[in-house]
């Protein structure tokens, strides 16, 4: 139970800047997810909080106390490392028991046994207790590392991609367990991942990191429905959001867009129209999720666009169809019984109420329809 404040953290490795002026406050009992592509500085940030790395500039505060010069053993933090960092010479049991055998967090052997048994049962590794880490698979090692982290009751949990090497089914289950644990033991958790489903399902708040900077900080809903720029929009959602360049035309009071060199008028919602009219722009990037496009094999109306089937991937409960139109590729989520021949002509319609508008130069978010609904939570959060 602790609040963590990072003030203007800058970390450089020789000439490379790993973290650039990061300031975040992570609230007590919050499940906070750091999300971003590889090399964004997520792990470095975790290690700075853990005290395994030291920033060149900035302050790290835990519960209001500056801990820059506190050794990591005194910070009462437990961490899952991305490469597991198990002790190769100890058995699984001893690995997990290790935090409870140190002078600082000492417990007697009976308590250790109960605690280890509890956590290994949860992780489904209780049949492996006598093995050495070298005799385990990667998924099993990861669960041991997670077990070693969870066996203690620290003020902060740091987890660096703790589920990355588990198989899909187990990952799903563990995700549920973590969420459940979070609510039951009340502790601050900082969780690093590059899987957006994990980020969205677990997080109270998410920070998107890119190249050592925070791009956006907010709830999963905000990330998904009102991303700050195209980069964030592309990180969340599968298939990736379609970014389509469109031309804007002003016609008396109304605004419409055209895309794909096709003569189809796309009318954005009136609230969006107002904003677009207010600014003198002729081009805009439209971000459209695959689920917000309808598809038909014969043109049902004038507001339908035309495309050509490029790929068709059935993935169980849905079909991802990729179309090409005027050199753009568009991924569309279709019902699972959709079948289409390659290179066939199909028609699609964009749900203009769900489109995200981005500036085509700066790639920053402009607006979307019904902004009020999505920005509701903002005042309380900031």
């Amino acid at each position: 139970m602790a609040q963590i404040e990072l003030c203007n953290i800058t970390k450089k490795y020789k000439k490379n800047t790993a973290l650039d002026d990061i300031s975040i406050t992570i609230k007590d009992n919050e499940f906070f997810v750091l999300f971003g592509p590889a090399g964004a500085g997520k792990t470095t940030l975790l290690k700075i909080i853990a005290g395994a790395e030291f920033p060149q500039e900035g302050l790290v505060k835990i519960d209001g106390k500056i801990v820059n010069h506190m050794e990591s053993k005194d910070r009462n933090i437990s961490m899952v490392f991305e490469n597991y960092a198990l002790y190769p010479n100890l058995t699984v049991y001893d690995n997990i028991a290790s935090p409870m055998r140190s002078r600082l967090y000492r417990k007697d052997e009976n308590d250790i046994k109960t605690a280890v048994n509890k956590v290994t049962e949860l992780m489904k590794i209780n049949h492996l207790l006598e093995r050495k880490p070298s005799q385990l698979s990667n998924g099993q090692r990861q669960r041991v590392a997670l077990g070693r982290c969870l066996v203690r009751n620290p003020s902060v949990f740091l987890m660096d991609e703790p589920l990355a090497h588990l198989d899909a089914k187990l990952r799903h289950m563990m995700r549920g367990e973590l969420k459940e644990m979070q609510t039951s033991i009340n502790s601050t958790t900082i969780y690093v991942t590059h899987d957006y489903t994990e980020a969205m399902s677990l997080a109270d708040r998410i920070a998107v990191l890119n190249k050592g900077k925070i791009v956006q900080l907010g709830t999963a809903q905000e990330m998904y429905f009102t991303p700050r720029n195209e980069f964030v929009a592309c990180l969340f959602g599968e298939p990736e959001i379609n970014i389509i360049e469109a031309q804007i035309y002003h016609e008396s009071e109304k605004v419409y867009c055209k895309a794909f060199n096709q003569d189809v008028f796309l009318y954005p919602g009136t609230d969006v129209g107002k904003i677009l009219t207010g600014e003198e722009r002729s081009r805009v990037d439209m971000g459209i999720r695959g689920t917000d496009i309808e598809i038909a094999f014969e043109r049902p109306g004038d507001d339908w666009l035309e495309g050509c089937v490029y790929a068709n991937e059935p993935i169980g409960n849905k079909v991802i169809m990729t179309l090409t139109a005027a050199g753009n590729k568009i991924a569309i989520t279709c019902p699972n019984d959709t079948k289409a021949d390659l290179d066939a002509t199909v028609y699609f319609k964009i749900n203009m109420d769900k489109v995200l508008f981005f500036d085509s130069e700066t790639k920053e978010f402009i607006t979307r329809s019904d902004m009020k609904k999505y920005k509701k939570g903002e005042e309380t959060d900031t």
Partner: protein, 280 residues
């Protein structure tokens, strides 16, 4: 088909026989000097130059060496010098290896290579200045002086082997141990030491052998007070004749501690010097 199978079996049997034969021959070749030395120890001076293996065994040589000279004193002093040298090497070399493996400082590789290069230089090259310096500062013919100068031959190998072991241990393991609540020395003793043990034991043994066998340094840098076994063995070469039998006795006994230690830690020796044994 059946015939082919039979042929294969025969070849395999022949291969095994050949392999063992080869190894036996090599064993004989490698062990012959040792055997010859032991045989010489039991020969009298009169029969020394017989090339056939027929002689009347005698213990005269043992009597001459062990009772009539202060061989045991030399043996003990050799033990002190070599043991002391190894202890200092381990105490100073392990932190040095850790620093070379973990920390990033300027000219790190140059420093590491410089340390290794002590091993390339022939001892005779540096012995004269060391002799003069030792005379001046009073380290000539002292335990401390010899132990100190032995670092030149014992330290480089240990540093390089142990450094390789440290490099194989990921930093995160240390960080994990710290987060588990261990102080730096506990991290070292409980986490790192077990992982570098094979390398430490193997290179420690080699360091001991180097120090035990050293000849040039004690020859020049020690006088009457301290005599190592290697120097004592020279004494049996007198002006009129060479007592090969006595030299052989002195050498045979000198070899014993090395053989015994090596046998005890044999299993570490092979594993320890092949790097990367700690991959978890």
């Amino acid at each position: 088909m059946e015939k082919k199978k039979n042929n294969k079996k025969i070849y395999m049997a022949l291969g095994a026989v050949g392999r063992n034969l080869g190894l036996t021959l090599f064993g004989l070749f490698a062990l012959f000097p040792l055997v010859w030395m032991v045989l010489c120890a039991f020969k009298s001076d009169a029969q020394m130059y017989n090339t056939v293996f027929r002689f009347t065994p005698t213990l005269d040589n043992f009597y001459a060496v062990l009772v009539r000279t202060d061989y045991f004193k030399a043996f003990f002093q050799n033990l002190v010098v070599a043991g002391g040298a190894v202890i200092i090497t381990v105490i100073a070399g392990v932190p040095c290896a850790y620093a070379l493996a973990r920390y990033d400082f300027k000219k790190k590789e140059d420093v590491a290579f410089q340390i290794l290069s002590f091993k390339f230089a022939p001892e005779i090259m540096v012995i004269l200045p060391i002799f003069l310096i030792f005379q001046k500062i009073g380290l000539y013919d002292s335990y401390f002086g010899l132990i100190w100068v032995y670092q030149l031959i014992t330290m480089p190998l240990l540093i390089w082997v142990v450094r390789g072991y440290f490099e194989d241990i990921s930093v995160e393991v240390e960080q994990a141990a710290q987060l588990d609540g261990y102080a730096w020395y506990e991290v070292f003793l409980k986490t790192l030491l077990p992982l570098i043990k094979p390398g430490l034991v193997a290179s420690g043994l080699l360091a001991f052998i180097f120090a035990w066998n050293s000849f040039t340094f004690p020859l020049i840098l020690s006088g009457f007070k301290i005599q190592t076994i290697t120097i004592t063995a020279l004494r049996y070469i007198s002006s009129d004749t060479v007592h090969y039998g006595q030299v052989a006795v002195a050498s045979t006994i000198a070899v014993l501690p090395e053989v015994i230690v090596a046998l005890f830690i044999q299993k570490h020796l092979v594993r320890g010097l092949s790097f990367g044994a700690v991959k978890g």
